[in-house]
Amino acid sequence: MQIKEHNVSAQLKEAVRDLYDDYAQAVDAEQLDRWIGFFSDDAVYRVIARESHSLGLPHATIYCEGIGMIRDRANMLQKVAVFEPRVLRHFITGVRIQSASADCIVASANFLIIESLFDAEPVLLMVGQYQDEIISREGDLCFRKRDAIYDQYRVRTTLVMPV
């Protein structure tokens, strides 16, 4: 059996997988200050319904243009928003690198988020796909663009934590 040589090195794949896992761990632990650090200063972060995304519509359920809006989202959740405490668990699978150049890695992965509320069984909060552009910043990878495109038609009650 012959296996075609991959353009993407195993090392790079490993680094991207680590980035995804670290990001998920930060969000699950509600370490929102750490979450901010996963984005470049000019990053665009969106959580968008598949319905809107496939129609090419610009509105996103969470829409952050630039690190300032990403900081603001973290701040609002920590200081202003009123919500029931919850535990989230991200499951990231199928990490794929579409292309990798010196400037930018284009990658995608599936996400599944289970939400556990007090006194209730865990439920599926959200399922979908990340579509990302990843850059290197002083040797570490970070997101220049992160679209979390959710498959379900409706958000279950409320979307509090970032995806």
């Binding site: 959580v47 968008i48 319904a49 319905e51 809107s52 129609l55 519509l57 610009p58 509105h59 996103a60 359920t61 969470i62 829409y63 952050c64 243009e65 630039g66 690190i67 300032g68 809006m69 900081r71 603001d72 989202r73 701040n75 609002m76 200081k79 202003v80 928003a81 009123v82 919500f83 029931e84 038609y153 409706r154 958000v155 279950r156 009650t157 409320t158 979307l159 509090v160």
Partner: protein, 417 residues
């Protein structure tokens, strides 16, 4: 439940009237069925979509009026129709896609085919097979077997429909107080569809309908509003119901200097953050868009809240799913002639509302918490006295529950409670 609990059929509205709301109305199943028949399927105009969602001849999309699935279509001549999504033959849904474009609609079950106005065009094996075979009776007339078409009104880009022949004309139904604000948003400038954020909330539809006409909570629960001066208890606010009390509009005059003022009411607001700063101020820096300087929301009973929060315009389409579950579909829009800045502001300020909104995630959270309480204390009674027990008219303060009492005056009358 205790042995003294009132049986559902004997439930009565409290004697005090609309300054009291009984908790059983949020979970009683027979009441819910009556509401669906009387309101959503009855003499009401229901929002079903925007023209911009079905832009071209042949465009169609599915939605619901209450529990009933309907199709909104634009036929080959550009005319808009609202149809029951139900084959006249055996009742299968004709359209299985959320939206799309088609020359005709064919029911997948037995291939009965309709045009986009719902007129039956062909019946598979009409003359039987193999021939000769009876097929359909000779006197079967396709004209009598179309998909049921609803009365429809298109006004300023919004599409409305009613199941009833008796519903009064749309303008009269909405009434002058609220129609002014509906027309202000749907003013004939072509709309630009921006996108969707839909959520399913585990609560009775009336809890949401009340929430959107309750400015009292807005200044307290939604700390973001007060912190950045977008809406405060000392804001110049006005709320007014339609003459029949079923619709209402609540608005304030935007004060661009409010966030700089000392928060005089901070003693009454427990969790205010006066030291909070935003890194991107555009989200709280609206451009004055309408000459009257007003911002706010309105309700067209029973299925629409129309929101203008700063520069975000959205329809909140209310679709009850069961006595204890309600879909809230946020349809964001702007205008075709919006400039680049306004387009950016609308997207950024979209973070204020919807399932993840800074001033609306609090709402879905509180209503989710409320449902199991009202449901399991059905004989408990809520107190709605702010701004006077009997006051149901115009209010000039946000610290008011007048519009909730106005709604329940209408509701009690219609439901015979």
């Amino acid at each position: 439940m205790t042995s003294e609990a009132v049986k559902p059929q004997d439930r009565k509205w409290p004697e005090e009237g609309v300054s009291r709301v009984p908790a059983w109305i949020y979970s009683d199943e027979s009441l819910f069925e009556r509401e669906m028949e009387k309101f959503y399927a009855g003499n009401t105009w229901n929002f079903v979509g925007l023209e911009a969602e079905i832009p071209e001849p042949g465009s169609f999309q599915r939605t619901f009026i209450g529990m009933k699935p309907v199709l909104v279509t634009r036929d080959a001549h550009g005319e808009i129709h609202v149809l029951e999504n139900r084959c006249a033959h055996r009742g299968a849904p004709v359209c299985w896609k959320q939206r799309g474009k088609a020359k005709e609609l064919t029911c997948p079950y037995h291939h009965w085919t309709y045009d986009l106005g719902g007129n039956l065009q062909s019946v598979a094996f009409m003359r039987g097979s193999p021939k000769p075979n009876p097929g359909m009776p000779k006197d079967f007339d396709m004209k009598n077997h179309g998909m049921r078409q609803l009365r429809t009104v298109v006004r300023g880009g919004a599409i409305w429909a009613t199941f009833s022949d008796e519903t009064q004309p749309f303008e009269k139904y909405v009434g002058p107080q609220v129609l002014e604000f509906v027309d202000r948003a749907f003013n004939g400038r072509p709309l630009r569809l921006l996108g969707y954020s839909r959520q399913i909330m585990p609560c009775n539809w009336k809890l949401y309908f009340e929430n959107a006409r309750d400015p009292y909570h807005a200044t307290l629960l939604h700390t973001f509003f007060t912190t950045f001066g977008l809406f405060r208890a000392d804001a110049h606010t006005r709320a007014l119901p339609s003459d029949d009390l079923r619709h209402e509009v609540t608005f304030s005059w935007f004060d661009s200097k409010a966030s700089e003022k000392n928060v005089v009411m901070s003693d009454d607001i427990k969790n205010i953050q006066t030291d909070l700063k935003l890194h991107d101020m555009e989200i709280v820096t609206p451009r004055q868009e309408f000459a009257d300087g007003r911002i706010g929301t309105l309700e067209v009973f029973p299925s629409m809240v129309l929101q203008q929060h700063v520069n975000t315009l959205a329809v909140r389409h209310i679709i009850p799913k069961s006595p204890t579950s309600t879909e809230l579909s946020w349809i964001y829009f702007g205008y075709q002639d919006d400039d680049e800045t306004l387009r950016r502001l609308r997207l950024k300020q979209g973070n204020l509302t919807g399932p993840a909104g800074y001033v609306s995630l609090d709402d879905s959270e509180v209503l989710k918490q409320m449902q199991p309480v009202v449901q399991n204390y059905p004989d408990s009674v809520q107190v709605v006295e702010m701004h006077g027990r009997d006051h149901i008219g115009i209010s000039e303060t946000s610290v008011s529950e007048s519009m909730i009492r106005a709604f329940y005056t209408f509701y009690k009358r219609e439901m015979g409670l």
